[in-house]
Subunit: 428 residues, 2 copies
């Protein structure tokens, strides 16, 4: 029987420093290009990308019947979407095979000098692309701490959570066109804003630019319109997860959002990490979510552990400044699980499509330094966040770089998510 690709005992013939995000147990998927190579799918291993198209051309996937006639072409694409449509047996077969090829005692790739040269590229030598082409993007609102904080600040501290919040995973549709890969600069948007003490709105650069720390899951297997997904099957549709920064212009958002929700305060840009960590790799890190009270309606009721213990952090780097970690929290704290989000989303028959992104909403913890946005960390500007260079922040300044990182760790194995980063450019 094949060794599980998650086994802590595995090690690779590739030199990977301890505590690295991408050990042989991880093998996240992404898409890269170089000046010489068009877009190709890859797996991250240590500081390298493993070119799956090149690997396929060398015949290393030849016997994987799960790929059918799709290889090698499916690996020479600008997104994971076509690969996702092949389904979980194909995803698993490729990850298993890559794991076997990278094991320290497996000579077939290791000792094939030419193949190693062609298939293994330093991450610093490639450009990572947006991993999926999302046809649909939904942003949930699943942190009870975040929803409570926002409700306290903007509505009524005594009734911070709206009556529906504990009954269903609130969400809204976001904009797909402006989802960019980590490393893409974010231009400070113009927009309409009106402070409560102003008589009329004005138009100009946002004065309250913010980030939101989120995780997004990628749907791998879609559904037909009119089909629902029983909660017991929900995770079967999820390929993996990635870090996500839902940049937000709070002044635009608070003026525009009633009654139809966030719009231009969000859709000027969202940043996604280049690497999608498979749900399979996260299997050892299942954890119980918070107790749900009242109990969800039967269609959302689940047993077992459907949250994932992933440490998250946000760092802020001013222009020419030092990096400060300004928040540390955990993905496992979310009130609504991904399975509940997905099942709710499909409960009216809305169809899911391969490559769809479903973001968690801001992930905030219960303590002042575990909050997932500057809005909350600086509590609407009333307690500015101190930075290592002596400056402080109520909202983001031009030149600021925001970096989000995440990892799960146990038994000496770290399943890392890499990072999602973006730098704020001044308004035009």
């Amino acid at each position: 029987m094949a060794t599980s690709p998650n086994s802590p005992a595995l090690r690779s013939w590739i030199d990977i420093p301890p505590g690295h995000d991408f050990p042989i147990q991880n093998l996240p998927f992404g898409v890269f290009e170089t000046d010489e190579r068009g877009p190709r799918l890859a797996v991250a291993i240590g500081g390298y990308v493993l070119d799956l198209y090149a690997l396929s051309q060398y015949g290393f996937f030849e016997d994987l019947t799960e790929l059918g006639a799709a290889q090698p072409k499916v690996f020479r694409r600008r997104s994971l979407n076509a690969f996702l449509r092949l389904g979980r047996p194909a995803w698993r077969a490729v990850r298993q095979r890559v794991s076997e090829l990278l094991r320290h005692d497996a000579p077939s790739l290791r000792d094939h000098e030419e193949a190693v040269r062609e298939c293994l590229l330093r991450q610093t030598h490639v450009r990572m692309l947006r991993p999926v082409k999302p046809n649909n993007y939904t942003d949930f609102y699943s942190s009870i701490e975040h929803a409570t904080n926002v409700g306290t600040m903007f509505r009524d501290p005594a009734n911070a959570l709206l009556p529906n919040w504990r009954h269903l995973p609130i969400g809204y549709h976001g904009r797909t066109s402006s989802i960019v890969v980590s490393g893409t600069d974010i231009r400070r948007p113009h927009g309409q804003r009106k402070a409560p003490d102003e008589a009329a709105p004005t138009f100009g650069p946002s004065r309250q630019l913010d980030f939101e720390l989120e995780m997004a899951f990628v749907v791998g297997t879609g559904t037909a319109l009119g089909t629902t997904v029983p909660i017991a099957n929900a995770e079967e549709h999820i390929f993996g997860l990635c870090l996500f920064n839902d940049w937000s212009a709070r002044d635009l958002q608070s003026w525009e959002y009633v009654p139809l929700g966030p719009f231009l305060g969000k859709n000027f840009g969202s940043s996604v990490a280049p690497w999608v960590v498979t749900l399979d790799a996260l299997e050892p890190f299942r954890t119980a979510g918070p107790v749900q009270e009242p109990a969800p309606l039967p269609y959302l009721a689940q047993t077992g552990n459907h949250n994932f213990d992933v440490q998250l952090e946000v760092a802020l780097v001013p222009a020419q400044g030092l990096e400060t970690t300004i928040s540390r929290t955990n993905f496992g704290l979310l009130y609504w699980s991904m399975a509940q989000q997905l099942t709710h989303h499909a409960s009216n028959g809305c169809n899911l499509e391969a490559g769809d992104l479903y973001a968690s909403g801001t992930i905030s913890g219960p303590t002042p330094n575990s909050l997932g946005s500057l809005l909350e960390l600086a509590w609407r500007g009333t307690r500015p966040v101190p930075l290592a260079d002596g400056s402080e922040r109520k909202f983001l300044l031009d030149g600021d770089t925001v970096i989000m990182r995440g990892y799960a760790e146990r038994d000496g194995v770290r399943i890392g998510f890499g990072e999602v980063r973006g730098t704020v450019l001044p308004a035009e």
Copy 2:
């Protein structure tokens, strides 16, 4: 100089009954397939579709340099998107050429028996497809009568319009995956709902299924992320318009929509008409919109006529019943113009993509029989709408078919939009 394809003097060698939606002055674009022919682009003329791929293969577009190397392939696609990306010169060149070929005194196609047989198919012999593959779909809220009615019913009659409404075109992102072409049945969705007098929510089939009469514009020329669109240039990005039914489950919507807007109450299905009428064909039907008070901020200020005088109507046909026209209104009544919607949407740098759909929001007029939804027509169930078969409606029943139609008419020329229709299937 070439005759304008809009000239009322034009007539075609194809027999078209007076008052037909698709005279030679219209020439809307769509996508069809048959059992023998894969998806192809077409123009509607009278009761026929004109197969643009076949026309291209017969060489009728050979000298159109605006098409470059894209033909004939660009006409053998499942959506208009690739054609849209060619830009306005290409759209105009094709419409102008088709107009020339169809003129009563033009023999080149008319007298080419084989080409006529191959290029001209009866609409009843083809299947129309969704005209675009929308990467993005935004739904606005631009009828002041609709926004006032909803605000009156659900919030506060004294302050029905929220403070932001007259300052910006409110909108939200909708779901693209569930946008279907006219004729597709709509399954009554399940969902959570809680009436104000109920202690807790329940899950089950929607009891308040509704339609929304809308028009959607199709973006032809996209923009790069970070680019804004001055209002004077906004219409340059618009290819055309089509009828749109934004099916809505009012009970799901009213429970879920705070604070992030409509979600599962909408995304179980939206229906789009198969024919996109070009903005060029609508040029003779420009009209002034309502006076905007207060004056919009400078980035939204425009002079001239940017609304379009399009008559709209909604018919309801019960299962085995008679058709009743239950609403008549006009697209020209909208408070916010398409140009203002588009410029506002791009004002923060959000990028537009070819094939995007931007719907108007429910189009309601000022009188009780000009309202664009059953919610308003039956005033939240308090004045049921009588039908020709003696029954009445507060909301849609299983088996009901909703048909929306629209046309602009002047000087004996009718620029019709065809129809968008859908039948309600019982919940599963």
